[in-house]
């Protein structure tokens, strides 16, 4: 059963009561909210995601709700809580949806230490994955969104989840938050993509969420083999360039940016070293999304 099978009212009742159980890749979430505006967005944007079976253990109990007490009357706020505790200052109620989405990422980043968590987007085709490690402002989300709307499967827009037992990449196909100009870039690139409302003036500027293709969400339990590291950079008017990157440099970029490279000790060193050793590493600069997608398509055809 998927969230879209629920009537809007039923979804709202669950959010208000025992919580909406929803599966995001390896993680089971239970989400509560007393905000009608949140329920409406969840009904639309979470529609293709599977709901939890009755017997499933939830990994994270999160809520986005107006805080109790007097404060709710003079300023409408939404507070993110994990297990009943609120690690962050409250948000204005209009930003409840991005706040919850962000909060869920925070849960994963701070708790899922049974996996190596690279800070990286990832897409897959024919069982082989490209990882796009993050550095701020490089537009990995934009490129990743363009690729998943061009025949690639979304692994994740934020997390390169590596299973220590076999070094395989686990999918976490969540909504992709686009920022500022990228929203219009993607609207032009793929008008058919389902994009949620734009939230203005969040702590990260304007944010809008793209729903991944249904196929990526359906195959959220299907791991992939890391095959390429591509370090993308969007540069205005730049010609396309895809150049081999020295492995030592790739290693350092991947390791220093990971969420929990340090925590996993030698396991992390070995995993990252193996991945970098077995993957082809490139730096990519581009200004045109179609050109970048074509170049990466070609890369995968040659493999």
């Amino acid at each position: 059963m998927i969230v879209g099978d629920l009537a809007r009212r039923e979804l709202e009742q669950r959010l208000n009561g025992s919580g909406l159980g929803i599966q995001f890749g390896p993680f089971n979430l239970r989400i509560r909210s007393n905000l009608a505006s949140f329920a409406a967005l969840a009904h639309q944007l979470y529609a293709p995601y599977p709901m939890l079976e009755a017997e499933a253990i939830s990994d994270f109990h999160v809520a986005i709700a107006s805080p109790p007490g007097l404060r709710r009357w003079w300023r409408r706020q939404a507070s993110f809580t994990l297990d009943g505790r609120s690690p962050f200052a409250p948000y204005t109620v209009e930003h409840a949806f991005p706040a919850l989405e962000w909060g869920i990422n925070w849960c994963v980043a701070t708790r899922a230490h049974h996996l190596l968590m690279l800070h990286s987007a990832g897409v897959e085709r024919d069982g082989q994955a490209i990882l796009f490690p993050a550095s701020p402002g490089d537009g990995k989300s934009t490129l990743c969104t363009a690729l998943v709307h061009s025949g690639w499967r979304l692994m994740s827009d934020e997390f390169g989840l590596v299973r220590p037992e076999d070094g395989l990449l686990l999918p976490l196909p969540r909504l992709i938050p686009l920022k500022n100009e990228s929203i219009d870039v993607i609207r032009r690139f793929r008008p058919a993509a389902l994009i949620g409302p734009s939230f203005l003036g969040t702590r990260k500027g304007t944010v809008a969420h793209v729903q991944p293709p249904a196929d990526s969400i359906r195959r959220a339990q299907e791991p992939a083999k890391p095959r390429w590291f591509v370090f993308p950079r969007w540069i205005a008017h730049a010609p396309l360039s895809l150049m081999a990157m020295p492995k030592s440099q790739a290693f350092l970029k991947v390791a220093t940016n990971a969420f929990n490279y340090e925590v996993l000790d030698e396991t992390a060193f070995r995993l990252v070293a193996d991945m970098v050793d077995h993957c082809d590493c490139y730096s990519l600069s581009y200004s045109d999304l179609d050109e970048a997608v074509a170049a990466l398509d070609e890369l995968s055809r040659d493999a």
């Binding site: 492995k247 290693f251 350092l252 060193f269 070995r270």
Partner: protein
Amino acid sequence: MPCSLAGRLLATPEGRRLAWQRWDGIYLVYQPSSAETHVFNETTALILRSLEKGPLFAKELKQLTEDSLGIEPGGLGADEFEFATSRLEELGLIDCLDEALAVR
């Protein structure tokens, strides 16, 4: 507290238990005892590897490193050598053996 050129140097037990990965003439070295990942150049890596076999006087070590690097005797600057050894000592990978000879 660098060892002077008169002192003897030795790899610590921690300095012998490392995981090495070499690419493009750069060494990525994982130290299980401290959970740190180091980046060493050829010189630093050679110094450490030479000391795995047993203690050496700093002078001998310097000559051996120059040999391995294929540069002429004295080609390795004393300051570069001392920087590498004192860094390795700070990381707990090598140790000064002769306390009395070590200059603080």
